[in-house]
Symmetry: C2
Subunit: 119 residues, 2 copies
């Protein structure tokens, strides 16, 4: 891996850390029903061939959102394997999602403005 | 500050951590000449009334980019105060900028896709 690759991975990781929470809230808000990690991962992976939100960051992010009260979870037995933890968005989570969407839109337009501006 | 405000600040902070490096490289690439921190801060602040990249994160980010070889700096005396450190983008910095712009565009479209998709 070249130094350029190292920098690229670092950038990608930092950028994605910020958006993971936003994406998870948005997905759980849209489906409107409790989902377990692998179901969420499949939705995220389906949107982009190389998933932006890798499973390695998915589970810690879900736990962190639950810790902040933006998600709740229940554990249900599964017929085909170990019990599954289902996550659902809370009222506080919906409030945060509304606020974060605005922050996202402002930030996106700001970055695009900087990148497109003439020197 | 309500719990919602706390979450909002945390989200904003994480999101901006990722884009600060991208914005700094883009600004220094565009101007094409060495600039000191306050000059850069003024350009960033001009684009948006409430600056997305606060000065508190600007200086650490510049030092980090220099440490990674994406920027170089020289210290020049100033007639009106203490010496100033001028930053300039390197060839490696331009390579990273090209790669990061693509990552940014992919990530932006991915997030917008998730936020706009029907449930």
């Amino acid at each position: 891996m070249t130094e350029n690759d190292v920098q690229q991975r670092k950038f990608q990781k930092e950028l994605h850390a910020g958006i993971t929470s936003l994406i998870l809230l948005a997905v759980l808000d849209k489906t409107g029903e409790p989902m377990y990690g692998y179901q969420i991962a499949k939705i995220l992976g389906g949107e982009l061939s190389e998933s932006n939100v890798k499973q390695g960051v998915l589970y810690p992010a879900l736990r962190s959102l639950e810790g902040s009260g933006l998600l709740t979870s229940i554990v249900e037995p599964s017929v085909s394997g170990p019990p599954r933890r289902y996550y659902q968005i809370t009222e506080a989570g919906r409030d945060s999602l509304t606020a974060w969407k605005k922050i996202w839109a402002n930030t996106r337009d700001y970055v695009d403005g900087i990148l497109q501006a003439k020197g």
